[in-house]
Symmetry: C2
Subunit: 354 residues, 2 copies
């Protein structure tokens, strides 16, 4: 039975895969809901998106996505509260950032209504796919990529925008030990590091594999000039607590302006936690670890929300973080997820009802 929601045409899947899914044991981003939003850019304009059954994409071998990495994406989550109401968290920030990323990659920007109304229509159709179990959520992946053809290194003339969703459990499991990178880099000054561009992630895989072989789970990226300053983790911004002060680096053209990061800064400020947004040198962190003033390190991002770090390696030495009874990480994670899942007041107006 087809329908129209927010002017978006819906073509329903004939069957559902939902009964095959074990909602009590969800992994991250591995099963996909019945529908997706699909929208094509052709002849200089984005066509009106449609909700369609989740289906394979067919492309010419010369489609530019295969050759020139012209793609951007976003990561968001939908939550279901105790009354089965569906919530998003600051979705307009994701929409804006997608367009910021697209601009840097010479991809045509999307109209806001196509993104927002398309997303809402998709969530309405696949509402049953949104988990309501604590710690689970519907991970939402909007992405845009070049479908236009030709072996010429220049922007494509056709693109596809898709939103696909995946009911998901926690992103990381277990202890997280990180390696402060001293050889490889994630992004250049004047480069695309601030964009959620596909190529930024592939470039991290090999250095991360090397770190994993040495017993770490994640790389902490540093500036590419001297590897002197802490920048960010693979898909998370980094917070460091020295004594009672929470510190995070300023965003730049090398660092993604994370929505979790800026929400944590606002939350911490409102809770009278001293927050500093400033460059943090590796040296400062190592010294704080040595003299005991380093209390916490954690990553912040949509997928993992807040991911506490147990220790870090730097130039062949491993430093353990103390085990505190009460951590900022735990406190702030609860505060932010309570807002996200409609368990508490939302003084910031971040929650968005679908």
């Amino acid at each position: 039975m087809n329908a129209i929601i927010n002017d978006i045409e819906i073509i329903k899947a004939k069957t559902t895969k939902i009964n095959e899914v074990d909602f009590d044991n969800l992994k991250f981003g591995q099963v996909f809901s019945d529908h997706m939003l699909e929208c094509n850019y052709k002849n200089g304009a984005w066509e009106v998106p449609k909700v369609v059954p989740y289906h394979a994409i067919t492309l010419d071998p010369s489609a530019k996505i295969f050759h020139y990495g012209q793609s951007v994406f976003e990561g968001m989550k939908a939550y279901k509260d105790a009354n089965n109401e569906v919530w998003l968290f600051r979705p307009l920030e994701n929409f804006k950032r997608l367009n910021i990323s697209s601009k840097r990659l010479a991809i045509p920007e999307l109209p806001e209504a196509y993104f927002m109304d398309g997303l809402k229509a998709l969530l309405e159709v696949d509402k049953d796919w949104i988990p309501n179990k604590e710690g689970s959520s519907l991970y939402i992946r909007p992405f845009v990529f070049a479908t236009g053809k030709g072996f010429h290194a220049s922007p494509a003339d056709e693109y596809k925008f898709i939103i696909s969703t995946a009911p998901s459990g926690a992103y990381f499991a277990g202890k997280v030990k990180v390696l402060i990178e001293q050889t490889y880099s994630r992004s250049a000054n004047g480069g695309v590091g601030y964009a959620k561009a596909g190529g930024n992630y592939a470039g991290q895989f090999y250095p991360t594999q090397l770190a994993v072989e040495k017993g770490y789970q994640q790389v902490i990226w540093t500036d590419d000039t001297n590897h002197e300053y802490i920048e960010e983790a693979g898909a998370m911004n980094i917070f460091i607590r020295i004594n009672d002060t929470l510190i995070t680096g300023p965003t730049s053209d090398r660092i993604l302006d994370g929505i979790t990061r800026k929400s944590i800064i606002d939350l911490a400020k409102s809770e009278n936690i001293p927050v500093e947004v400033r460059k943090i040198s590796v040296k400062e962190v190592v010294e704080a670890a040595k003299n005991g003033s380093l209390k916490e390190m954690f990553g912040a991002g949509t997928a993992a929300v807040i991911s506490p770090i147990d220790g870090f390696g730097y130039q062949g030495t491993d430093y353990d973080l103390p085990k505190l009874d009460k951590t900022y990480a735990e406190y702030l994670k609860k505060r932010i997820t309570d807002i996200q899942t409609n368990k508490s007041e939302d003084p910031f107006g971040w929650r968005y009802k679908v």
Copy 2:
């Protein structure tokens, strides 16, 4: 009629598109030959490649190529000489570089035989597609991309290697004025700039568009630290002639180790042209332009072979290059294309008979 060439299975196209192609007016990389080589990586190994009819690729929306830019490619050419014999130029260098790129992107490396025998089988099947007109050639595009599924930023477990070919004319046409970039960058120290990774190209599109709007055709990339040194062009290495000396920057982890570049260095040396491989500062080039010692600038790469530069822009000022009667660019281009197309001796053993 199917067959086996060099142990590679051939599945022939039922019809040919060759009669639709105007071989006298070929553009670059826009029409594709009847067949392609296809090879899948699954369960931890590359399967034996096959020559198959050129056909569309079908992928799950969660295939990692759409999200994480995990792709690498190569660019080669096949030439037909007066006796209809087919030649490649240093193909093993492309094979080796493809694997160097793959390693950096955490893509499994290919066995040499799959690449070389696969390529030869493909060229035999599509021999009629190789142009023999002066200046035309069969452009060859080997590429590897992640087909494995899932919204987790980690290397894929499945990949596809394809070689597709396109009869092609000249890459650039007309005058080339370049802009020496002072804001954006192509690659980071410790990054993926030395790899032919898809993402390196998408990142160049927007700055190149800005340069085009200002009246330039190409960007000359500089180091991302201070924009002080000349690095390379979009898909070419850069040579600069000051008085009678030919200078090109050293390769590094930010710069692609171009096969044309190193061939030109060897050729120039053998012709007793003074060659220096050393850092070239923008300041040095600007001063040479001002005092008249700057004689030539040209790009070097497989697609364009040698592409003379007519002038450059730097900090709001345009500098024209002199019009010489005899240029290194023209001389070296003739030398290298004569070797490539079997019109002259090949003292270096670069030519490779298919």
